[in-house]
């Protein structure tokens, strides 16, 4: 059913494209640093450092989450792109099954996100956050789960879209709210009740919280808000659910 060779070459292609498009590479690497050092340091002055955790430290897990969110969602643009430029048909007409193609796209989006997330982890020591080898490995695992869930979600949406314009509209109505409701910039606890509901159905919310568990000291006002186990279970469920949905919508043939 699954052709590993086909999955491998789909992932390889996405990485080649990623590194060949210099502009995209530059933007994706610079965006989190801009948030971190410009937005982060601005708000650190405003909020002050009366708690265990400094604001600029607090947003690092959030910015890792943001990087994964943007990277995963926008890597699914390649499906829309491939459809618009016909390359999707080259894949669909090959003997590789639809599930193989979905897994190839899922893994390439996930791998690109994890790659960027790992790069960001090297900023942590600069902000006075120590990450040991064990934490580092755990972070990779968590980032993988979160990236997979969001790529699958993006792929599910992208499978309905036939044009790049449609993609931009939907991404802005989904990506930005997901980011602002994830607890990346402020704790979920500080949100009003009716908005909190949207946070709890947001997979990124659990992802960012799990990153906070690993990267930030516990017990402060700005520390993780939910049990780590709940985060992991929730992200895993989202992951399975959206992967199933993405595979399902790709399987149909008119």
């Amino acid at each position: 059913m699954l052709s590993y060779k086909a999955i491998y070459v789909i992932v390889l292609r996405e990485f080649k494209r990623f590194f060949r498009q210099r502009g995209r590479l530059l933007v994706t690497m610079a965006r989190p640093l801009i948030w971190l050092f410009i937005v982060g340091s601005g708000f650190t002055r405003l909020i002050g450092t009366d708690s265990e955790v400094q604001y600029i430290q607090f947003i690092l897990p959030g910015i890792v989450g943001m990087t994964i969110l943007f990277s995963s969602m926008f890597s699914t643009i390649s499906v829309v792109w491939d459809r618009e430029f016909g390359f999707l048909r080259e894949m669909l007409v090959s003997p590789a099954s639809r599930v193989t193609i979905v897994f190839g796209k899922l893994l390439s989006g996930t791998a690109l996100s994890v790659f960027q997330g790992v790069a960001l982890l090297f900023v942590a020591p600069l902000l006075g956050l120590g990450i040991g080898v064990g934490d580092f490995m755990l972070m990779i695992l968590l980032m993988f789960l979160v990236a997979l869930a969001i790529t699958a979600f993006g792929l599910f949406i992208a499978s309905f879209l036939t044009s790049l314009e449609g993609f931009n509209v939907i991404m802005n109505f989904i990506v930005l709210p997901m980011f602002f409701l994830s607890g990346a910039l402020y704790p979920i606890g500080s949100l009003p009740g009716y908005i909190k509901v949207f946070s709890y159905i947001n997979p990124l919310c659990y992802g960012v919280d799990s990153f906070k568990h690993i990267m930030l000291p516990a017990g402060g006002k700005l520390s993780a808000e939910m049990p780590l186990l709940l985060d992991i279970v929730a992200v895993s469920l989202f992951c399975a659910f959206f992967t199933f949905l993405a595979a399902l919508v790709f399987e149909r043939r008119k």
Partner: protein
């Protein structure tokens, strides 16, 4: 056993029948052309045969595999070159081909040799490591055809292989397809609305409005017209019309190009005409029947009357 077998194929989109009861066979090694105007059902048929589309009823088999029940087997036994470009512009020619080999699960040891071999066949050896973006339209087309042949398919499907190419490149690509058939011996199934392309096929099916209205060798189709057309300019047209009717029992028609006559074996008729006619003949022109004439004769319309496909229609075909 035919390589392609289609019986009573029906496919409709939202209640409109795009293909209504099409039947035909394609034998091994044949170059089979599907000729018809845009929107006649050519692309729909090709998409069904390539398992990209489901169909409502009928039978479609390729290489003995059922298009509905064994899509993966059909897909691995065919090569397909689409109407629109489906290469990855950001990758090199070699990378595009390698992608294909992996998708088709080809033996890794064979891959490198086969890529080098096929690049040579299409005259692109030495260009393998160039990014496809920099290729000309004709080179891209050749690369796509090469890609379609990489996994040695028994049948090569070409959907409007020269659409959007300039006339010179078009004839290059066409030359190349003919050579290819000699070199690789594939069965070729192609759709076209260019008469020159259809002329070179072993057999063509003329499709209009979702139905096949003729399926024959091109010369047979042309023979089915009653004869050649002779155009003459005379010193006195009305007198000439009378004379022709009297001496040959033929009805000559006045046209912009002069008097026109439909006769079998036109080249032998012209000397007789000169001998018999009292009226002075100023000019003569013989036109052998073309597939265009066959098409007009069968449908009452010119193939080009239909104009280009509107973009919404093209999209609905492109995203099945």
């Amino acid at each position: 056993m035919p390589v392609i077998e289609v019986r009573d194929l029906v496919k409709s989109y939202n209640g409109n029948e795009a293909v209504s009861g099409v039947s035909f066979d394609v034998g091994e090694g044949e170059v089979f052309g599907f000729l018809g105007p845009n929107g006649a059902g050519k692309t729909t048929t090709i998409n069904i045969l390539c398992t990209l589309l489901n169909f409502d009823s009928g039978v479609a088999r390729v290489n003995g595999f059922d298009c509905r029940r064994e899509p993966a087997k059909v897909r691995s036994s065919i090569g397909l070159v689409f109407q629109e470009m489906t290469l990855d512009n950001e990758l090199t020619a070699y990378e595009n081909l390698k992608f294909h080999c992996y998708m088709y699960n080809m033996d890794k040891r064979l891959t490198e040799d086969r890529i080098a071999e096929i690049l040579d066949v299409v005259g692109l050896s030495g260009r393998g490591s160039d990014i496809v973006k920099k290729f000309s339209g004709g080179m891209k087309r050749r690369l796509e055809i090469a890609r379609g042949l990489l996994h040695r398919p028994k049948v090569l499907f070409l959907d409007e292989p020269t659409l959007g190419l300039d006339p010179q490149t078009r004839s290059h690509v066409w030359e190349f397809i003919k050579q290819l058939k000699k070199a690789e011996g594939n069965t070729v199934f192609m759709t076209t609305h260019y008469m020159e392309e259809a002329e070179a096929c072993d057999r063509i099916a003329i499709i209009d409005d979702g139905k096949i209205i003729a399926c024959e060798r091109p010369d047979e189709l042309k023979r089915s017209l009653r004869g050649d057309t002779i155009y003459i300019k005379t010193a006195d047209d009305s007198r000439a019309i009378g004379e022709i009717k009297e001496k040959f029992g033929l009805k000559a028609k006045m046209t912009e190009a002069g008097l026109s006559l439909l006769v079998p074996g036109g080249e032998k008729f012209i000397p007789k005409l000169f001998e018999a006619l009292q009226t002075g003949i100023l000019a003569v022109n013989l036109k052998k029947p073309s597939l265009e004439d066959v098409f007009i004769n069968l449908t009452g319309r010119e193939i080009r009357d239909y104009g280009p496909t509107p973009s919404y229609k093209r999209n609905s075909h492109r995203h099945p």
